[in-house]
C-alpha cells in the first residue's frame, strides 16, 4: 500500500506548502500600492546592477578616459545624462554606479549580519553576564551617531572605498544584535522551544533549528531597509570625500564634484542624485511592505 514516488514528485510534495506560502506573501504585497512601487524600484535597481556593463554606451568613461573636447555637454541623444567636467558620459557612470552601490550595500549588510546575528542569538539565548557584556558594548556603539562614527573610523584608516565599507559595517552590526537579541528573548519562551527541550534537543539544536529560522522575518525586513540606508551612507561618505575616490563612478562622489557646477550644469549632480533617491526610496518602501507581510503573520 505504500506508493513509491519519484524524487521529483517527492520534492514537489515537500515544497507544496512553501510554494503556497510564497504565493500568499506575493499576493499580500501586491495589495499595497506603495509596496509594489518599492518592489518595482528595487527590481529595476537589481536588474541594472546585474546587466550594467551590457547597456552602457561608453565603457571607457567609467574609470580613466577623458574627452576634454566633450566636457560639460547637456543631455542629448548621444549622452542621455550629459557629460561631466572631463567629458565622461554620465549615463554610463550612473549605470555602473548602480552595480557599485549594490556591491557596497550587500557587503556592508552581510558583514553586519555576520557579526550581529550570532552575537544577538548568543546574548538572547544564553543570557546572564554574557548577555550583559554583549548588550552594553552594543549600546556604546549605538549611542554614537552612525555617520559620525563612520567618519571617525575612516578618518583613522584613511579615505577609500574599502575603508568606507569597513567603517559602515562597524556602524551597522549593533542594530542587528539588538534586533536579534530581542527576538530571541521572546522566542525562548515559546511553547515549541519547550517542546523541543522535552524531546531532548540540545542547546545547539534549539538555537539553529528553532530560534534562528524564526528570526529570519525581522532580519529580512531590517536588511531590506538597511540596504537603502547603507547605500545612502556610503554616498554620504563619498560626497564628503572620504569614501569612493574619483574616478570611481560612485554616486555620492559624483554629486560631490557635480555640486561645484550647479546650477548651470545641473545634470552632473541631478542624475546621480535621482538614482540615490529612487534606490533608497525603493528599498524603504519594499522593507515597509515586507514588514506588514512577514511580521506579524496575519491570516484571515
Amino acid at each position: 500500500m505504500k506508493e513509491i514516488l519519484s524524487p521529483w514528485e517527492r520534492w514537489k510534495e515537500e515544497r507544496e506548502s512553501q510554494i503556497r506560502n510564497f504565493k500568499l506573501i506575493l499576493y499580500t504585497l501586491s495589495r499595497s500600492p506603495l509596496s509594489v512601487i518599492g518592489f518595482f524600484c528595487v527590481s529595476v535597481f537589481l536588474i541594472i546592477a546585474l546587466i550594467g556593463p551590457m547597456i552602457i554606451t561608453y565603457p571607457g568613461d567609467i574609470k580613466g578616459t577623458i574627452h576634454m573636447d566633450q566636457k560639460l555637454r547637456p543631455p542629448s541623444s548621444n549622452h542621455p545624462f550629459g557629460t561631466d567636467e572631463v567629458g565622461r558620459d554620465i549615463y554610463s557612470r550612473v549605470i555602473m554606479g548602480t552595480r557599485l552601490s549594490f556591491q557596497i550595500g550587500l557587503i556592508i549588510i552581510f558583514i553586519a549580519m555576520g557579526i550581529g546575528v550570532p552575537l544577538g542569538i548568543i546574548a538572547g539565548y544564553i543570557g546572564g553576564w554574557l548577555n550583559e557584556i554583549i548588550m552594553r558594548v552594543t549600546d556604546i556603539f549605538l549611542s554614537i551617531p552612525g555617520l559620525l562614527l563612520a567618519l571617525a573610523i575612516v578618518g583613522a584608516l584613511g579615505p577609500g572605498i574599502k575603508n568606507a565599507m569597513l567603517a559602515l559595517s562597524i556602524v551597522w552590526w549593533p542594530g542587528y544584535v539588538r534586533l536579534v537579541q530581542g527576538k530571541t528573548l521572546s522566542l525562548r519562551e515559546e511553547s515549541y522551544v519547550e517542546a523541543a527541550k522535552s524531546i531532548g534537543a540540545s542547546k545547539l539544536r534549539v538555537i539553529f533549528s528553532h530560534v534562528l529560522p524564526n528570526c529570519t522575518s525581522p532580519i529580512i525586513v531590517k536588511a531590506s531597509m538597511d540596504m537603502g540606508m547603507a547605500i545612502l551612507f556610503a554616498a554620504n561618505l563619498g560626497f564628503i570625500g572620504v569614501g569612493a575616490q574619483p574616478p570611481i563612478p560612485e554616486w555620492g562622489a559624483m554629486i560631490s564634484t557635480g555640486r561645484n557646477y550647479l546650477p548651470d550644469h545641473w545634470w552632473m549632480a541631478t542624475f546621480p542624485g535621482m538614482a540615490i533617491l529612487i534606490t533608497v526610496l525603493g528599498f524603504n518602501l519594499l522593507g515597509d511592505g515586507l514588514r506588514d507581510v512577514l511580521d506579524p503573520q496575519s491570516r484571515i
Binding site: 515537500e14 507544496e16 517542546a195 540540545s202 524564526n214
Partner: protein, 323 residues
C-alpha cells in the same frame, strides 16, 4: 504489590523572586509546595486546579524542564532528580508531554513531518526512507492523512495539530504521556472524539496517562483517580467518582458547583467563593484556602496547616474539618 510507574514524594518547586518589590524582603513563588502522588502502569491520573495551582509546574518538574527544589520523582523506584544529563537523555524516551496550546507548540517554520521526525532524528539518528516510513506510520496511528505530512502548522486545524502533537510524543514509544489541557483549545464537537481516541490509544499501546486540566468534566471522563490542587498543594485526592460526587474539601465543593452545567435547571445550591485566588507569592498562613473558605472553623484554619486525613474509601483530604 508492584511499584507504581511514577511516584512523586513531597515535590517542591520554588521560583526565587528578585529584590525589587514590596516589603523589601526576598521571597519565593512557591509554585509547587509539597506534592505527593503515584500512578500505576496503565492508569490515568488527573491533576485538577485553577490558575496558580501549580499543576503545569508539576508536569515540567517531572520532565525536569525545570529543576525541582526539593523532593523525589521516582520512576520505577529510581529517583530521576538525581540523574545525570546522560541518564536523563535516556529517560526522555520514557515520558513525553503533549503541550497545552496546540497552536503554539510547533515551530511555525517546520513542516509536520519535521516536527514529528525531530525526536527520531535526535535519539535514533534516523534518516531518509526509514525516517519517512516511521513518520507515515505515526500519522496513521493518530488518524492523519499522508497529505498532511508536509503542511505547516498554521494550515491545520486545532484538532489536527493536537494529533500531530500526539504523534510526536509517541515516536519514541514512551510509557508515560503527560497531557496538559489536551482538549481546551478544541471545539466541543471535537473534544469527545479526541478523548475517545486517547482512550483507544492507551489500550492499544499500554500507555499511562497523567492528565492536567482545569476542566473537571474532561478529568471526570477520563481519569480513574484525581488530585485537586490549590496554590501548590493537593488538597484532596482519590478515586474520581467519589471525589466529584461527594466532595469533602470546601474548595472541591466550590469547584464542582462552579462548573456550568448545560441543562435547563441550574443547581440551587451554588457555592460562590469570595475574592480572588491569592497570588503564589503571598500564600496564606495556616490552611492556604482559609481566605476564601465558607466553612472555616476558626483560628485553627488561619494558623495551622492541616495534615492529610485518609478515609476508608481510599480518598484523602487536607482539611481541619476532618481532623
Amino acid at each position: 504489590m508492584a511499584l507504581p510507574l511514577l511516584e512523586l514524594k513531597n515535590l517542591k518547586k520554588y521560583f526565587p523572586l528578585r529584590k525589587r518589590f514590596i516589603g523589601g524582603h526576598k521571597g519565593n513563588v512557591r509554585a509547587v509546595d509539597g506534592i505527593s502522588f503515584f500512578i500505576r502502569g496503565g492508569d490515568s491520573f488527573g491533576l485538577v486546579g485553577e490558575s496558580g495551582s501549580g499543576k503545569t509546574t508539576v508536569a515540567r518538574a517531572i520532565l525536569r524542564l525545570v529543576e525541582p527544589t526539593e523532593g523525589e520523582v521516582l520512576w520505577d523506584g529510581r529517583d530521576i532528580c538525581k540523574f545525570l544529563d546522560s541518564e536523563m537523555e535516556e529517560m526522555r524516551r520514557n515520558m513525553q508531554m503533549i503541550f497545552q496550546d496546540p497552536h503554539s507548540s510547533f515551530n511555525p517554520r517546520k513542516t509536520v513531518f519535521k516536527s514529528i521526525a525531530e525526536p527520531l532524528v535526535i535519539h535514533e539518528g534516523m534518516r531518509g526512507r526509514g525516517l519517512r516510513e516511521r513518520v507515515e506510520e505515526l500519522l496513521e496511528i493518530v488518524g492523519l492523512k499522508r497529505e498532511h505530512m508536509f503542511r505547516y502548522p498554521h494550515e491545520l486545524s486545532g484538532g489536527q495539530k493536537q494529533r500531530v502533537g500526539i504523534a510526536r510524543a509517541l515516536s519514541l514509544h514512551p510509557k508515560l504521556l503527560i497531557l496538559d489541557e489536551p482538549t481546551s483549545a478544541l471545539d466541543v464537537s471535537v473534544q469527545a472524539q479526541m478523548l475517545h481516541f486517547l482512550e483507544l490509544l492507551q489500550k492499544r499501546m499500554g500507555l499511562t496517562y497523567l492528565f492536567i486540566s482545569h476542566n473537571l468534566a474532561v478529568i471526570r471522563y477520563t481519569c480513574d483517580r484525581v488530585g485537586v490542587m490549590y496554590l501548590g498543594k493537593i488538597i484532596e485526592m482519590g478515586k474520581t467518582e467519589g471525589i466529584f460526587s461527594f466532595p469533602r474539601h470546601p474548595y472541591t465543593k466550590a469547584l464542582v458547583s462552579a462548573v456550568p452545567v448545560p441543562q435547563a435547571e441550574q443547581p440551587e445550591k451554588m457555592v460562590y467563593l469570595e475574592g480572588d485566588i491569592p497570588s503564589a507569592t503571598h500564600i496564606p498562613s495556616g490552611c492556604r484556602f482559609h481566605t476564601r473558605c465558607l466553612e472555616k472553623i476558626g483560628a485553627i484554619c488561619e494558623e495551622i496547616e492541616p495534615s492529610t486525613h485518609y478515609f476508608l474509601d481510599g480518598n484523602q483530604v487536607d482539611c481541619h474539618l476532618y481532623q
